[in-house]
């Protein structure tokens, strides 16, 4: 019988590779003098790991039971519009001169934090 890996395992592995690549590539782009093709290639490396994550995530979702699906749905239903509201709030604070413009790192941090908050709220509701 052909052995298949659980999508969650592949997803976790792709996430680990992605996180490692984030630190290494950031360091390389900021500290080394590289030629344009190498810089472009490095900038696009995380796309492949991220694409694997996306595919595995969707496969993983289809394996969830009813309760897990509801928790995840509520987590995302909280995190997704919260992110839009948070970005909108930042945009207006920037227009009013209270903060400087958002950076990609800030958006990613917001996404992770809101995902965790959403998960805690959803978990409490379905406990």
């Amino acid at each position: 019988m052909k052995k298949t890996f659980h999508p969650l395992l592949i997803f976790s592995l792709a996430m680990a590779i992605l996180l490692a690549s984030v630190f290494i590539i950031t360091w390389l782009l900021e500290t080394q003098q590289l030629s344009a093709p190498v810089r472009l290639a490095l900038a696009l490396v995380p796309v492949s790991a991220w694409t694997v994550c996306l595919v595995m995530e969707l496969r993983f979702l289809r394996r969830l039971d009813e309760l897990q699906r509801r928790i995840l749905l509520e987590t995302l239903a909280i995190a997704f519009p919260s992110l839009a509201v948070a970005i909108l709030g930042c945009e207006y604070l920037r227009k009013a001169g209270f903060i400087s413009s958002l950076k990609p790192d800030h958006v990613l941090i917001m996404m992770v934090v809101l995902l965790l908050v959403g998960y805690v709220i959803a978990r409490r509701r379905y406990r």
Partner: protein, 132 residues
């Protein structure tokens, strides 16, 4: 009984539309005020945050809507949200690197939410096609 459920659904849609319009109106109003008037710091802060309460209200209405979905719509919405959330992160990371590598200009990341909406629509269509 069915008529009652239909009326309840219509009421929910009307509420969502009204709150969306209110949120949009306050966003435009806030932008216009900040562009055309010079306010003191506290008033500027209040005007800047004016659109946030209607958007929070819209957010509550949306979550209630998601909780009331049937099994099939829940599956489709979950896949659409998951696709959009991870896809947005992919766009943010890739654009951030291209920015660092000097291939694209410095963008204001506040404009990321149209990407979120676009990816949600794509994710919804993929999931809908899958469960059709």
């Amino acid at each position: 009984m069915e008529n009652c459920g239909h009326r309840g659904g219509m009421r929910a849609v009307m509420l969502m539309l009204s709150v969306s319009l209110l949120a949009g109106f306050t966003a435009v109003l806030s932008s216009w005020l900040l562009k055309h008037y010079q306010f003191g710091a506290p008033l500027r802060l209040a005007v800047a945050l004016l659109p946030v309460p209607p958007f929070i209200w819209l957010f509550v209405v949306l979550i209630r809507g998601v909780r009331a979905l049937d099994e099939m719509m829940q599956r489709i919405t979950l896949e659409a949200l998951a696709f959009s959330f991870v896809g947005t992160a992919l766009v943010v990371v890739t654009y951030g690197y291209l920015q660092r590598a000097g291939f694209v200009p410095q963008e204001n990341w506040s404009q990321v939410w149209p990407v979120m909406v676009g990816l949600y629509i794509i994710g919804y269509l993929i999931a809908w096609w899958r469960y059709k």
